[in-house]
């Protein structure tokens, strides 16, 4: 299927990109790796007047590991994150999420910023025009019904980012820039929880950096994911776990972040007592939305949210013991 028509823009630095965005607002879509955007355009889910390729913005590419925080540029390829020895060593769940996101040829193209800001998906929305023409307009297509949940008053489309849960597990922040101003917000604040408009980001704002604070003392982390085919598919359920200990080796934080459990990642925050696996699994199950709108039944995906939470915590604890 051919792509719809558009005008192509290719800024060479952030300032230029921000000016282009400021002038064109909603009519412009940003292309990072293009692996998600081009498919949506091909299906005519979006038909932007302008496509701005940010692939040439070298000033927001790369991993900078500092003493107090690690900064990852929005253009950094998932492959580079998955392969970075330092990310693997310090932020294992993040490296695992990047590795698991897609097959090698896709992670060679896809970027961290693009992965975080990819639109939510639903079986009743991510279809070609031929299929959609035979369906009533749902919330996400400007209608008033939900095709996945009978009588659904809102959109139940699902966050498909692998990177967001892993980054949120580490309490990551992100830098949003627009012409004349910059703001830094917690990554969790970037998600609205609303499937129709899943991101709290202005049309003229560019996500430029992701900042991961350096955890104090010992930390263990892991990312686990359910999908149809081991190498190429979007997550059907996923869990990133983060466990940290005090100087004395006592667990003082235990966090699980669920992906594919709703329109935004779901955070389950706990303290030492909640390292009890079953209670976390139950909370994950309770927190996840089990809707029949991805390739596997919602009830199964919901159960797997609990199972994956358990597996991720277990792996994180094991790594903590190994001193990783």
């Amino acid at each position: 299927m051919r792509l719809p028509p558009f005008q192509f823009l290719e800024p060479t630095n952030v300032e230029e990109a921000l000016s282009m965005m400021n002038a064109r607002k909603e009519t412009l879509k940003i292309m990072a790796g293009g692996t998600d955007l081009l498919n949506r355009m091909r299906f005519r889910l979006i038909e932007p007047a302008f496509v701005m390729n940010i692939g040439k913005l070298r000033d927001v590419d790369g991993i900078d590991i500092g003493e107090n925080e690690t900064v990852i540029g929005t253009n950094t390829k998932l492959k580079d994150i998955a392969r970075s020895p330092l990310i693997n060593n310090k932020f294992r769940a993040i490296a695992e999420a990047a590795f698991e996101a897609a097959s090698p040829a896709v992670t060679n193209m896809a970027t961290i910023g693009g992965n975080i800001l990819q639109d939510t998906r639903c079986l009743y929305y991510n279809q070609s025009g031929m299929v959609l023409n035979g369906l009533e307009r749902c919330h996400k297509r400007g209608g008033t019904i939900c095709l996945a949940v009978k009588g659904g008053k809102r959109c139940f489309s699902v966050c498909q980012s692998d990177m967001a849960p892993a980054l949120i597990a580490f309490d990551a922040k992100c830098v949003l820039q627009k012409k004349g101003s910059t703001r830094t917000v917690a990554l969790t604040e970037l998600f609205t929880g609303n499937g129709v408009t899943p991101f709290a980001i202005g049309a003229d704002e560019l996500l430029t950096k992701i900042i991961i604070p350096q955890p104090k003392n010992g930390v263990g982390s892991a990312y686990r994911k359910l999908r149809l085919r081991g190498s190429v598919d979007y997550p059907l359920a996923s869990a990133a776990a983060f466990v940290s200990v005090t100087k004395d080796g006592e667990v003082n934080a235990c966090r699980v972040v669920l992906g594919s459990a709703g329109a935004s990642p779901r955070v389950i925050d706990g303290r030492s007592c909640e390292t009890h696996l079953e209670s976390i699994a139950q909370k994950a199950y309770d927190s996840a939305e089990g809707i029949d709108n991805l390739q596997m039944p919602g009830a199964y995906r919901r159960k797997m949210a609990g199972v994956l939470a358990k597996r991720a915590i277990k792996a994180a604890m094991d790594r903590l013991k190994e001193g990783m």
Binding site: F8, E10, G34, L38, S103, N108, M109, S231
Partner: protein, 159 residues
């Protein structure tokens, strides 16, 4: 609908420079097949899943169906046609032939380029590394065993 203008696009494909005039919505896959007549690169799923359209961009395998031609100017593109050495097949191609790693042949260009990129980066990959590297290249004849054998034979030879 926005007004779209044709633009001059310069592509470096298999060490040759090609100039085409095309709309910006042309994918690299379309440019290779329709403009440059390099039909070794195949289109199958057309949405980045199957790996048939794999080409190398500065040596790394990418999906040409998810790549805009206009966005890869200045990069080195390698297609299956660029692999042969003179009139001879490249050792990776030969290994695929010798190990009967080709059935219908539709996935072969992408599969061979992926194997080539893997061996270039890691001349002695383990079977796990081979399987991971070709995990995004789908063979619907399911001839994976022979494909892995072919790549392994090169890994053992360190070619």
């Amino acid at each position: 609908m926005s007004e779209m203008k044709k633009t001059a696009i310069t592509l470096n494909v298999n060490n040759e420079t090609h100039d085409i005039i095309a709309y910006p919505n042309k994918t690299l896959l379309e440019a290779l097949r329709d403009d440059l007549r390099l039909t070794g690169t195949k289109e199958s799923c057309g949405e980045g899943v199957c790996g048939s359209c794999t080409v190398l961009l500065d040596g790394a395998p990418v999906r040409s169906c998810l790549t805009l031609a206009v966005a890869v100017q200045g990069k080195k593109i390698t297609t299956i046609e660029g692999l042969r050495v003179g009139e001879k097949l490249h050792p990776v191609q030969e290994a695929f032939v010798n190990h009967h790693a080709i059935q219908c042949g539709f996935c072969s260009p992408g599969m061979i380029l992926t194997a080539y990129a893997l061996l270039k980066e890691n001349p002695t990959p383990t079977e796990t590394e081979i399987r991971r590297a070709i995990s995004g290249n789908i063979c619907r004849c399911t001839g994976y065993a022979k494909i892995v054998e072919a790549i392994k034979s090169l890994a053992e030879e360190g070619k």
